[in-house]
Structure formats: structure tokens, C-alpha cells
Symmetry: C2
Subunit: 267 residues, 2 copies
């Protein structure tokens, strides 16, 4: 294994084995951790191929002695998934970690639903299959230690990302949601707008336009569930959507005003 | 001089010595061409510094034996500038070239106003002080030979860009305006919208968001005259602005619909 000597392999169970979990797991396997997975859909074949165990049965999964349980479901399905977990099957106090792209919402859900003796770490790797395809060096990893009693396990988990060179950014879930409404949700919205307009490269692209085409392509590769999760479960997103509409209107008015001045310079 | 042996120095007169002309002229001087300039404002000092002649008097400028006259005024001022030129002062049939970021409009103006014996070349270097700051290699140069009798002079002028490694893209002014409404005007509009929203880098930027910040910064460096020129004098831009508004509205509706389904999954 490629685990550094200081790093002991972690037993990580993953709930929700969609595109993002499949992306994360490649690096965890490379680092030598012991991975188990479960999901709504059947990923037995893929997991066999990856050399990890896939559980169709949630009870058996929870009984399988995970030190960490990583929640990788869509934002929209977390509530349903977490509320249906048979926690009595857990064999030990467990560190629950989520990677959802919004943070106050899973924090509140986990604090409500998880057993009192389980630890809670909220995280958001600010990258994905596209931006992280050449490694995670210099990419940002946001986290908040929401309820940590077992510091050792928490620290081992964070090491997975620190070892790869991620910029480890500790901040509150609230601060994350404020900032990411202004950055990530805005980016996804612009990307979806460009996609809706069927923006395509032309023979006379400027550098700036090429960047917009890249934004369109990378954001429309993510699921619509992910995008709508950013909107529905980040309380700062609605204001941001209104800000976009308002700004488009303002720019339009500025253009129309300038056009009228041109037609009649006496204005 | 750095002119290649096959390239004879051209006598180029520039009308409109704003940011873009100042950017272009650096390369023309490097190539060894003989440059004269005139503008609404006084650039005598800057031109002395650059080692080229600046004319405050338009008559003297037109009498100064230019083989090429390069129109670098703002889109909005071209009509006024070109209509006030004392063409009788020209000492020879001249190649008029414009670099405006819209193309049908200057083509029509030049064909209406310029002397019959002058040649007309419409061009649009698809780059500027920002994207072209490390050289012009692989950047696109669009042109249409609208009325060329003196092929040699036209070809010498195009060589200025070809020599630097530009992708030389011959297309009609109409085709240019159709494509650039969908690309450059869209980019400037998004950039201005982001600027209006006061978008700023955050500690948790994604790669996609960083691209949007770059688009904001590079487009808001250009004058508002340039941006409004793209809108007012490209007949395909109005539709594009409506498309943006419509797409924002569509995306909003999709989000609201998904949110309502979440609240009431029976929908
Ligand atoms: N993609 C990224 O770049 C990225 C980056 C950072 C964080 N994230 C976060 O990572 C999580 C996963 O993202 P993703 O890109 O893989 O796509 P996603 O569409 O957000 O989530 C897909 C996952 O959700 C599960 N799921 C969806 N609906 C479900 C339901 N009704 N019941 C049970 N499970 C359900 C899917 O299970 P099945 O596959 O079994 O159907 C799959 O595992 C999200 O919370 C996202 O915000 C993603
Ligand atoms: N910037 C770019 O990246 C870029 C790229 C490709 C093409 N272009 C085109 O190049 C041209 C110049 O662009 P720019 O970036 O330099 O900025 P601009 O704001 O579009 O144009 C500035 C120029 O227009 C002149 N001007 C403005 N109003 C005038 C008036 N009422 N009467 C006479 N002259 C007037 C200015 O003269 P004074 O300076 O003397 O006041 C200056 O020379 C534009 O047509 C633009 O579309 C620009």
C-alpha cells in the first residue's frame, strides 16, 4: 500500500456510491484504507472490480465494524437515507462524515438523527471528478468538527485529504453556506444558463468565452439533483438567485439607456 | 528592426489612440513599421515616448502619406469620426482597415463614406491587452476583404498578424456578428453581470468559480462604450440578451419546481 508509515489504515464505510463516492474511493484505495460500500442501486460488480466489498443489505453494512461512515448520497436524499438507518446495528461508536455540497443542512440532520455516542464531521471537498482528475494537490477541503470526541479517528480521516496536498480549510457550516452560495451555486447557475442557451465553441472564440464554455461543460456534468440541492438546502441561495436576476435586469437597462442616448444624443 | 526580409515596412496611420491602439502599436513598432497617430485626446507625450509621430491636426495626419489608415475608435464614435474626415487631404489611394468588435456596422459605414478609390479591409483581432499580453501566438484574427484592389498592401497588413502566429480566419462580417453575439457579447454580458453582483474570490473557490472571476475581471477592464457598442451595433445581440433573460428564467423555474416536489413528493 501507499499509506505513509504514520497513517494507519482506516475502516471506512460509504453510503451512496454515486459518481462522487466513486471518485473519492480511488484515492482512499490507493492510500490503503479498508473500504466497504452500500447504495440504493447495486454496485456489486463495480466494487468487485475495485477490490472492495459492496453490501446490498444495510443491516449487514452497519454491522461490518466501520470506524468511519461516509455519507455520499445526494443532498435531496440524505434525509430519507439517514432516517431509515437501523442504528442499533452499529457495533461501535462511529465517526459520521458527510461530503454534501451544502453544510448547515446535513449538520442539523446528523445532530438530530445520529446516536449520541457517534462523532460528527461535516466536510466539503471543493472539487470533483473533473477538477480533481490530475490529483488533489492545492484543491480546497472545507471541514467543521461538529461533535468530535475521538480526535484520533477524526484526524486520521482528515489525513486522507491532507496527505494528497489539499488546502485544509476549517470553517463553520454557516460560513461555508454563505460563501458557497456566492461562489459555487452562482457558478452552477451560470453553467446551467449557458447550457440552456446551448452555448458552443465558435471559430472566433475569445479566451474569456472559452472559460465560459468550460464552466458550462463541467457544471452540466453534475446531476440536476446536485444543482437543485445547492438551491433548496442552502438558505443563502435564494437571495443569490434573485441577485442574478436583478443584475441581468440592471445591465439590460444600462444598455438600453446607452442605446437611447445614441439615437437621441440630446438626452 | 525585427521585420522579416520578405516584409517591407508599412506606413500605417492610426485614428483613435485608446487602449486597444496602444496595445496593437507595440507589436507594429517592434516589427519595424512606420506609425503615425491621431486621436480626439492629445497623446503627444505617449507617442514621443514610443518614438512615433502624433498629429493633433487631422488634415496634417491625412496628408502624411499613409498606405494604411487603421480605424481604432470606439464603436459608438466611428460614425462621427469617419464622417468628419477631410478626405480631399489624402495624397494617395489608401487602404482603410477597422478593428471594431462589431463588423457589419463599420463595413456599411466605410462603404458609404470612404472615397471610391480607397480599399476596405474589415478586421477583428479576437484578443486584447489582457489575453494578448504574452504575445499573439494562436490567438484568432478575423478579417473580410470587403473592397481590395491593391492586394499587395492588404497582404502586407495581414502579415503583421500572421507573422505573430495569429490564426487568420477569413469570414464575412455577417457571419462574424452572428457568432460573436453568441460568444463575445455573451461573455461581456456575463462579465458585467458578475461585476454588478460584486463577485469576489472566496477562501473556498472551486476551479469553475475562479474562471468566472477571471471573466469578470477581464471584461470589466474594457470600456462601457465597447460593451454597449457590442450591443447597439450588432443586430444579433438583442436576441442574445433576450436569450440570457429567458434562460435565467427557465433555470429558476426548474429549481422552484424541484423545490415544490421536495416539499410535497406526491406532485
Ligand atoms: N460531484 C462532485 O463534484 C461533488 C463534489 C463535492 C461534493 N459532492 C457531494 O457528493 C454527493 C454525491 O454527489 P454525486 O456527484 O455523486 O451525485 P448526486 O446526484 O448528488 O448523488 C448521487 C448519489 O445519491 C444517491 N441517491 C440519489 N437519490 C437517492 C434516493 N432517493 N435514495 C437513496 N440514495 C439516493 C445515489 O445512489 P445510487 O447511485 O445508488 O442511485 C448516489 O449515490 C452530493 O451530496 C454532492 O453534493 C459532489
Ligand atoms: N480592447 C480590446 O480588447 C479590443 C479588442 C478588439 C477590438 N477592439 C476594438 O478597438 C476599438 C478601440 O477599443 P478600446 O479598447 O481602445 O476602447 P473604446 O472605448 O472602445 O475606444 C476608445 C477609443 O475611441 C475614441 N473615442 C471615443 N469616443 C470618441 C468620440 N466621441 N470622438 C472621437 N473619438 C472617440 C477614443 O479616443 P481618445 O482616446 O482620443 O479619447 C479612443 O481612441 C473599439 O472599436 C473596440 O471594439 C478592442
Amino acid at each position: 500500500t501507499m499509506t505513509s508509515p504514520s497513517q494507519k489504515p482506516l475502516k471506512v464505510g460509504i453510503i451512496g456510491f454515486g459518481p462522487f463516492a466513486q471518485f473519492l474511493v480511488k484515492t482512499m484505495i490507493k492510500q490503503g484504507h479498508s473500504i466497504k460500500a452500500t447504495s440504493r442501486s447495486d454496485y456489486t460488480q463495480l466494487c468487485t472490480h475495485l477490490g472492495i466489498s459492496f453490501f446490498r443489505d444495510m443491516k449487514a453494512f452497519l454491522e461490518s465494524n466501520n470506524e468511519v461512515i461516509l455519507l455520499c448520497t445526494s443532498i435531496l436524499s440524505l434525509s430519507q437515507v439517514i432516517n431509515s438507518l437501523p442504528f442499533n446495528c452499529l457495533t461501535q461508536p462511529t465517526l459520521f462524515v458527510d461530503v454534501l455540497s451544502v453544510k448547515e443542512y446535513p449538520r442539523d440532520l446528523m445532530l438530530q438523527v445520529l446516536p449520541q455516542d457517534s462523532d460528527v464531521l461535516c466536510t466539503h471537498p471543493m472539487f470533483g471528478p473533473e477538477s480533481g482528475k490530475d490529483g488533489w494537490n492545492d484543491l480546497t477541503f472545507m471541514y467543521e468538527k461538529v461533535r468530535i470526541t475521538n480526535e484520533a479517528t477524526c484526524s486520521s480521516f482528515l489525513q486522507i485529504f491532507a496527505t494528497e496536498g489539499c488546502k485544509m480549510m476549517e470553517m463553520t457550516c454557516e460560513e461555508h453556506d454563505k460563501l458557497s452560495a456566492r461562489s459555487q451555486f452562482l457558478t452552477h447557475t451560470i453553467g446551467r444558463v449557458l447550457s440552456e442557451m446551448e452555448v458552443e465553441p465558435t471559430p472566433i472564440d475569445t479566451k474569456g468565452f472559452q472559460k465560459l464554455v468550460q464552466v458550462k461543460e463541467s457544471t452540466s456534468r453534475d446531476s440536476f439533483d446536485l444543482f437543485s440541492g445547492l438551491f433548496i438546502h442552502n438558505r443563502f441561495a435564494k437571495q443569490q438567485l434573485m441577485n442574478i436576476e436583478l443584475a441581468v435586469e440592471t445591465i439590460k437597462q444600462q444598455l438600453v439607456k446607452r442605446m437611447n442616448e445614441q439615437v437621441d444624443p440630446s438626452i
